[in-house]
């Protein structure tokens, strides 16, 4: 089965989002698996948002915020990191796996690093395979089809 991971990236406007722009201007290639969601600050991201991304079908999720000490709102990225860690624990308990969620830090001038992160995360998810939730939904769909054909 071909697996095209769905990865959601919550990107801070002041760094990752600009870095993505720069990566584009530099004509850098990165996998088309990443869906970016612009945030006013990585600190805007809360646990509910992260869980719901998985619930809505993401195989992997990451939050990209400014380098530590460089947050435009002083501590947003530190708060995001704590929330990501808390959400990882919940994902472990649920059975989705905390390793499918990650926090990255970069600056607006790090276009190549943005592409690198997208590749790194895509490779990680490719290795882990589809989210258990996606697998469960697929199995459920196949069961229903089988029953319908009977």
């Amino acid at each position: 089965m071909d697996f095209n991971p769905k990865i959601v990236a919550f990107c801070c406007y002041y760094c990752a989002y600009s870095a993505a722009d720069l990566a584009g201007s530099l004509r850098l290639q990165y996998p088309p698996t990443v869906r970016m969601i612009e945030q006013p600050c990585s600190g805007k991201v809360d646990i509910r948002l992260l869980l719901e991304a998985f619930e809505d079908g993401a195989d992997g999720v990451y939050v990209a915020g400014c380098l530590e000490g460089d947050c435009h709102f002083l501590k947003g990225n530190i708060r995001a990191k704590k929330r990501v860690n808390a959400a990882k624990k919940i994902l472990d308990k649920i059975g989705i796996g905390g390793e499918r969620l990650e926090m990255f830090n970069l600056s607006g001038s790090m276009g190549p690093r943005f592409a690198e992160i997208a590749t790194e995360m895509t490779n990680r998810i490719l290795e882990l395979g589809p989210s258990p939730l996606r697998q469960a939904r697929q199995a459920e769909g196949e069961n229903r089809e089988e029953e319908a054909s009977k």
Binding site: D46, I47, R48, L51, E52, F54, E55, I90, K93, I94, G95, I96, P132, L133, A136, R137, E140
Partner: protein, 223 residues
């Protein structure tokens, strides 16, 4: 405020076994302030439960509703509109809210999502500490605003005990409540007040002997 914290997910899942539609009821009062059972926590809990149950092959439908408070009848009534097809209410309020929902919806199975811990205050964001023992007869005027009933590990009214060492309690790493009382009285020039011996406390006003009531005839509407 009443401080609570979430029960382990496994315990909650266990109490929801066999249920297919659950109303996750939040409370906008104390538990929202201590980040345990407000609207956001309801969303996180509901999402986690749905995913876990879906992975187990037993999908769960959730209805999310956060009341202004779960300890007042006028707000609890609102929940009635949301109960269509619901098998169970998972209350994310303190023990008061859980019981109030159970009382108001006698046909509905109500389970708690939180462990109610204590009446406390926010020391810093993410840290809450007990401040009131709900003993029913406040002694703070005699102890300079530091409660020996709950902050002293032995609830001594004429402290400190011999376990007060370098200002610390021998039971927990907290400051000795009686050290705090002494320091505060000293700084306010009221040390002589501590010479007065506190008589045995009337514990009949405290938590044993069934639920206590406060009655205010002047504010009653009916009767």
């Amino acid at each position: 405020m009443i401080v609570a914290e979430a029960k382990p997910l496994e315990e909650i899942l266990d109490s929801l076994k066999g249920m297919s539609k659950v109303l996750v009821a939040g409370c906008g009062g104390c538990v929202a302030v201590c980040l345990a059972g407000g609207e956001k926590e309801v969303g996180i809990m509901a999402s986690a439960l749905r995913m876990k149950r879906e992975l187990a092959g037993e999908p769960l439908v959730t209805v999310e509703e956060t009341l202004t408070r779960q300890c007042d009848p006028e707000y609890v009534k609102e929940l009635g509109k949301k109960l269509d097809g619901v098998d169970c209410i998972l209350s994310m309020a303190c023990g008061v809210g859980v019981q109030f929902l159970a009382e108001h919806y006698p046909d509905m199975w109500v389970v708690p999502a939180l462990n109610t811990k204590f009446a406390g205050a926010t020391i810093e964001h993410g840290l809450w500490e007990e401040r009131c023992g709900l003993c029913g007869e406040c002694v703070l005027a005699q102890t300079g605003g530091v409660c020996p009933v709950i902050r002293c590990a032995k609830s001594l009214l004429n402290g400190p005990c011999g376990g007060s060492q370098n200002g610390k309690c021998e039971v927990k790493p907290n400051a000795c409540a009686w050290q705090l009382i002494y320091d505060r009285m000293k700084s306010l020039g009221r040390l002589e007040q501590l010479v007065e011996v506190a008589e045995a406390k009337d514990w009949s006003k405290s938590r044993d002997g069934g639920p206590r009531q406060v009655v205010r005839e002047d504010v009653k509407i009916d009767g």
